[in-house]
């Protein structure tokens, strides 16, 4: 049997297809992308090495500044809000018996739907003349908010709306992960804490929370990467507008790369995105220390 499982030829047959695909479609392009980011490369001409000029240009690019700010806002907002709301929903749902599955399935439902489609729906609801504002007008509100067209403030209203829509759509995923972890905690631990006189809140704080910490790290890194990759909702809700104020890294990359065909420049944005993803994942896994307890 050992001979069978050490068979190099068979191993190659098993591993090579995945390995070749992965290398050709993922890793070589990544390396190429990093190289392009140091090149002057505009669509139809061959890439010419120009050093860090693209990155210098990024620093003076106003839209890139906005995109970076929005992406980081989005990252922090989704990590924090998904943690709090997801944990809250999970705690509520594990405390009820009747209808738990129904509520769980309803809250998770938008996660499987197309963000492109839902983005169009929210675009309508929050557009300045339609949707909610038609209702507000009927109720006699004099100056209804402009929603997705508003540009006042440091973090503008459209970004908040998009962030909340994203929370609405994806909180089910965090909730589901936390629920799975909470239901894995043995009942006797909970009972022991009740016997020792803990309230429900205290049990949650001192028993549940420490035990689901590993899952917090996992769910948070999933959220973080997801929020940095975020494209569909924003593209269909605002297309980065009004006046580039809701641009994020992904939409800026798309616009620079595939509207203006500045491949080199867009690659530099891609590299920034990649580095952010790696840093954030490492950071979360360092900060949320995963102590392993017996469950």
């Amino acid at each position: 049997m050992d001979k069978l499982l050490r068979n190099k030829k068979a191993l190659a047959v098993f591993m090579l297809p995945a390995f070749i695909l992965f290398t050709l479609v993922l890793f070589i392009p990544i390396v190429q992308s990093v190289y392009y980011s140091f090149c002057d490369y505009k669509g139809f001409t061959a890439p010419v090495f120009i050093g860090i000029d693209n990155y210098k240009a990024l620093l003076s690019d106003k839209t890139f500044g906005i995109a970076l700010k929005n992406s980081i806002f989005f990252l922090i907002f989704s990590c924090v809000s998904q943690l709090i709301v997801g944990l809250f929903f999970a705690a509520l749902l594990t405390n009820i018996k009747v209808g738990r599955n129904a509520f769980k399935n309803i809250i998770y439902l938008p996660c499987v739907l197309s963000s492109a489609a839902l983005g169009l729906m929210w675009m309508f609801i929050f557009s300045p003349k339609l949707g909610i504002n038609q209702l507000l007008e009927k109720w006699g509100v004099e100056e209804p908010p402009l929603w997705l067209m508003d540009t006042k403030g440091h973090i503008i209203l459209p970004m908040w709306i998009i962030a909340f829509v994203a929370l609405w759509q994806y909180v089910g995923q965090s909730m589901m992960l936390y629920m799975a972890q909470i239901s894995g905690i043995s009942k006797s631990l909970m009972e022991a804490s009740y016997i020792d006189g803990c309230t429900k809140a205290k049990t949650f704080r001192y028993i549940t929370l420490p035990l689901i910490k590993p899952m917090i790290a996992t769910a948070m890194s999933l959220n973080a990467i997801g929020s940095l990759k975020f494209f569909d909702l924003i593209y269909n809700m605002t297309k980065g507008g009004p006046n580039h104020s809701t641009e994020v890294l992904a939409t800026h990359l798309y616009e620079q790369g595939f509207k203006y065909f500045k491949y080199g420049y867009a690659s530099a944005i891609g590299v920034v995105l990649l580095v952010l993803c790696l840093i954030v994942t490492l950071f979360i896994n360092k900060v949320v220390k995963t102590e392993q307890y017996e469950m």
Partner: protein, 291 residues
Amino acid sequence: MSTKSLVAELTPASKNKKKITPIQVLIYVFLILISITYIFPLLWVFNVSFKTNKEIFTAPFALPKDVTFDNYSFAWTAGRLGVATLNSFIVCVAALVLSMIIGSMAAFGIARMRWKGAKLAMTYFLTGMMIPVHCVLIPLFTRFANLNLSNTLTGIILPYLTFSLPITIFIMTGFFKGLPNELIECACMEGANIFQIFFKICLPLGRTGLFVTGLMTFIGNWNELLVAMVFISDESKKTLPVALSKFVGPHATNYSQMFAAIVIAIIPTIVVYCAFSNKIVDGLTAGAVKG
């Protein structure tokens, strides 16, 4: 719950059996409110999709006066959603089948074969989970243009397939590691070769895992917008999410048709979800719990 047991629950006699505390009532009220925010927008989209464009501007929240199916027929034919649905289906099924075969083969190699690089190979595939697809778009785009793959369905199947591999390999490795050793030993004694062990024994036993990962990747690819938008500009090759954005014009948008298109785009996933919601949950947690 039958009416009889419901009555029994509500009568005071059963009160000492189970008390409903005010907090529980509060939780239920809150959850019902939350559920409304989830269900209502979707029902509303469904509702508006039967209205005429004029009605949307005058009374968007009322029920439609005369139900019209014109929006659907327009979106399906003139809006080319029919073609787009077919394209989406082809792309997703191809990516799904290929990623299942290739992914589970690699997973078997990692989980069961005896070689030194297994851990390293796993790490190699798992880093794929952290890499956003945006970073590889430009090199892939130029490469595919040279290979005449841009504007073909193959051109998006390849990235979809590749980006589905990490999760497939991850979940299936867990599955194959869980199979008892005796099983493989036994097959060995009977004279099975390694491919028979994989295709005839391990793969059939891992079908729950396959099903779950299949669902996850199918839904993910079905909803994917960016790659499809970049690689496909030909109208007849567009997938559903891309075809949707065509309904929003820069100057005039026909909202009623847009809503019909939204319904067409989300109905398949809703159906799949209703049928397999528990499996999807399994897949999600299996993918997240690091082994």
